[in-house]
């Protein structure tokens, strides 16, 4: 028997005429946690999708336990013990946990569903994962981390030997991540092989045994994790030195011209009596745990969500933000944290995505849409933001996450914003693109614009913000400046140990 659970040998893959993988070798040993890292567009997703039967390679071969295999479908890969757990969950929200776990593989007795057996098996598997989820609860009532557990349970119900996890911690809290890691380690100790995709290098350092780095469709390294530092991994991913991830801050804040004054905003269930000021030329960080009400507060400010009380003053005038359109007219823009669900039209080409906020600037003299102007704007955006696209006519969904995010930033910049509100702008994008986003933000505020940065990644808040406001359960807990901007201090406020007076 082979020591490898699954191997890819000289695998190439092209979409149409666009090659994305070049002669990639990839081996996962039995009972190891094998991290797969690379910048967006490096080919990670494509590679694991080939392993899991979503796509077929253009050339090269797959070996399972040393034997050549061809997976023509997801089902074929699953039946052979190779299961992929998606970043976005594949669960039916209206079905119960046990119905989801056995979806498509229901246990049957005398032609009817054997519900008792399925319930018992579900309970056993969930118990093994150390969760207390009731198999009878509906998936839509579960938290994000519980859904993740159900996904894993689904994979385990069929004795999977190779488990592929794509960014499993992107939406989990610190406590939930620890539980997940414990489970992953236990699975490994039972002989399961895990392919673990993540952009969080510290997680990989903590969890993985070996790591493979992809860059621009090539494998550039496979090493023991213990032999590499996080810096080494980052260097391998981008192929150059990442000197400083964050640009230098703008010196002591002047705080002379208040651009935006938010007074006593409330939104039932989410935000309670929140007030703050944003000054010209600063990056104002909004820290807090997931669900602290930061997104909802900003949506109230720009008119995307109805508020029950409060006013917004923009450059001395009350902002009549009854709709987001009003805010945009005043050059206040908001970048949603949900890129695919709220930010961009994934099924549309690139140009209409970039110009949707600024169609009035893309008209002919008699008021019709001018596709030449739109193309020119797209060209400019691709250039300015260094977006890598397979083709200018490509649909947005054909771009990698980081490149999609650059399109989202480009879309926003078309209205020449004065105030830019960025909600988790680097979620799910690689370290190289992150750095580009950080420098982009710093450049904006240098030009006298103002930026609000919502982020759940503390290093990002600390590294980029001139001032930080911390929220907890819909309430502004406190404001930090200068040397107080550090992870420990922020966590004290975010968890409610410190602060509590509405700012």
């Amino acid at each position: 028997m082979s020591e490898f659970a699954i191997q890819a040998k000289k695998v190439c893959k092209s979409y149409g005429t666009v090659p994305v993988l070049f002669d990639v070798d990839f081996e996962v040993k039995k009972g190891e946690i094998h991290a797969l890292i690379g910048e967006n567009g490096a080919g990670k997703s494509t590679l694991v999708k080939i392993l899991a039967g979503y796509h077929q390679q253009t050339s090269g071969e797959l070996l399972r336990n040393g034997r050549p295999v061809v997976y023509h479908s997801i089902g074929a890969a699953e039946a052979d013990g190779v299961v992929m757990i998606h970043q976005e969950f594949n669960l039916c929200n209206d079905l119960t946990v046990e119905e989801n776990i056995f979806l498509g593989k229901e246990l049957v007795k005398r032609g009817l569903l054997d519900k008792a057996a399925m319930r018992q098996r579900s309970g056993e598997i969930l118990g093994r994962l150390g969760t207390t989820i009731d198999p009878r609860s509906r998936v839509k009532d579960l938290s994000v981390s519980e859904k993740q557990m159900v996904e894993i349970a689904k994979a385990l119900a069929f004795n999977s030997e190779v488990l592929i996890m794509d960014e499993p911690t992107a939406v989990l809290t610190q406590g939930e991540i620890e539980v997940l890691f414990r489970i992953i380690r236990a699975l490994r100790d039972h002989g399961v092989s895990i392919v673990y995709i993540s952009h969080k290098l510290n997680e990989i350092k903590e969890l993985a045994d070996r790591v493979t780095v992809l860059r621009d469709g090539y494998r550039v390294a496979t090493e023991k994790v213990s032999d590499l530092s996080e810096d080494d991994m980052a260097r391998l991913m981008v192929g150059r030195e990442l000197t400083t991830l964050f640009p230098p801050k703008g010196g002591p804040p002047k705080r002379e011209v208040p651009v935006l004054e938010v007074r006593n905003i409330s939104c039932p269930k989410y935000v309670h009596n929140a007030s703050f000021q944003l000054y010209e030329g600063e990056v104002l960080g909004f820290a807090g745990l997931i669900g602290a009400g930061r997104t909802e507060l900003m949506e109230c400010v720009v008119g995307l969500r109805r508020r029950s009380a409060g006013t917004v003053i923009y450059r001395g005038q009350p902002l009549s933000a009854r709709s987001y359109g009003d805010a945009i007219k005043q050059q206040i823009v908001y970048l949603s944290e949900d890129r695919k669900g709220k930010g961009l039209f994934t099924s549309m080409p690139l140009a209409p995505n970039v110009t949707i906020l600024s169609l009035q600037d893309h008209l002919t003299r008699i008021g019709f849409l001018d596709s030449k102007k739109e193309d020119a704007t797209l060209d400019r955006t691709l250039e300015e933001f260094d977006v890598r696209v397979p083709s200018k006519r490509a649909l947005l969904s054909m771009l990698s996450g980081g490149n999609q995010q650059k399109i989202a930033l480009g879309k926003m910049m078309q209205v020449d914003p004065d105030v830019v509100i960025l909600d988790e702008p680097t979620r799910g994008i690689d370290v190289g693109t992150k750095q580009q986003v950080y420098y982009f933000v710093r450049e904006l505020v240098k030009q006298g614009k103002s930026c609000i940065l919502i982020s759940s990644e503390l290093p990002e808040i600390v590294g980029l913000s001139d001032r930080v406001i911390v929220m907890r359960s819909g309430v502004i807990m406190g404001e930090l400046t200068g040397a107080d901007i550090n992870e420990e201090e922020i966590m004290l406020y975010a968890t409610g140990v410190k602060g509590g007076m509405a700012g």
């Binding site: 090659p19 621009d216 696209v389």
Partner: protein, 334 residues
């Protein structure tokens, strides 16, 4: 270690705008059907027959142009056939009333045309407002108004038929039967509606917003598009298209009853779908819709002209065509 330039993928040559089978598929289908029709019965190609076929396609075609906008946003309007019947009935009642004062004059007819346009726009406004303000599925709302309009016209006709005053009918007749430069008037109107529809869809912000909403409702909202307003506007546009179709339909028979416009909603929706517009919204093919409407009319005509299949099976053949067309589109996409 492989050294790859950072822009490696970017340098892959940009694909030019590709020739799309999907876009011209319906046109090819029209041509193929015309060849088939000629093979079955040479009279198919006669000027008289062709004129008849294309003119017949104008009613559902004009309605289907409006439906392309509604479906483009991912909604549906089932009430169009009933609305056409109601509009026809109201036009006839109105003209029969006006003729007592103004006589059988063009003033009478034009007043009724204006009434039809107003009724269509108001009907669409009501559909749109109930759907957006009430936050109810468009299928349910228009299923309701479909029943309401149908029943109103039956009530107005007292269960029978409303007939247009004969002298007025004589004067109004050319709007359906007349020609301009040898082209039937309904066909000219169909053409104009299609061109206006194409310009609206592809060349204006309104059209872009329609497709944006159909593509992803939430993203449209977060892109500062007034989603409700655009959706209401598509229903008003649909109502106006129904009104225009009614205006050229009334002089054809000069009557209206509870069965007027029966099934038009399904024919219009089918024309849109055959034309390549997706039911879930986000894409819209105006030219395809035109071809779709013509395809329907040709099939009915071919069945009339041939003895091979009973014309009672018209509906079955149409059904097969709808399913077949979507299947072809599905496979050519993959």
């Amino acid at each position: 270690m492989n050294q790859v330039s950072a822009g490696g993928l970017a340098k892959v040559k940009a694909l030019g705008s590709r020739f799309s089978w999907q876009d011209i598929g319906p046109i090819i289908a029209v041509i193929a059907l015309m060849i088939l029709g000629t093979a079955i019965n040479p009279t198919f190609l006669s000027m008289g027959n062709l004129t008849n076929v294309f003119t017949r396609s104008a009613f559902t075609g004009i309605i289907a142009i409006g439906a392309t906008f509604v479906i483009g946003t991912g909604s549906i309007d089932l009430s169009v056939g009933s609305m056409a019947a109601f509009n026809s009935g109201m036009m006839i009642i109105f003209m029969n009333y006006l003729v007592q004062h103004w006589g059988a004059t063009w003033s009478t007819i034009i007043a009724a045309m204006v009434l039809s346009l107003v009724l269509g726009a108001v009907g669409g406004l009501v559909n749109g407002l109930v759907i957006t303000r009430g936050k109810i599925e468009s299928f349910i709302v228009t299923l309701g108004t479909m029943g309401i309009f149908r029943s109103l016209v039956t009530y107005l006709a007292d269960g029978g038929t409303l007939s247009l005053n004969l002298p007025v009918r004589g004067l109004y007749r050319p709007v359906y039967y007349g020609t301009f430069l040898k082209i039937p008037i309904p066909l000219i109107i169909f053409f104009i509606v299609a061109v206006v529809g194409a310009v609206l869809m592809y060349k204006t912000r309104f059209g872009r917003y329609v497709l944006a909403i159909g593509s992803n409702y939430d993203v449209a909202h977060y892109s500062a598009i007034n989603v409700n307003r655009i959706r209401v506007l598509t229903y008003i546009l649909q109502g106006i298209c129904v009104a225009i179709a009614t205006i050229i339909y009334v002089p054809r028979l000069g009557s209206a009853s509870g069965s007027t416009g029966y099934g038009w909603e399904l024919e219009a929706i089918a024309a849109v779908i055959i034309g390549g517009t997706a039911m879930k919204g986000g894409t819209a093919k105006i030219l395809g819709t035109v071809a779709g409407a013509i395809i329907f009319s040709i099939i009915g005509n071919i069945l009339n002209l041939s003895d091979a299949i009973s014309q009672y099976l018209n509906g079955a053949v149409q059904g097969l065509i709808i399913i077949g067309a979507v299947l072809v589109q599905r496979t050519s996409k993959e």
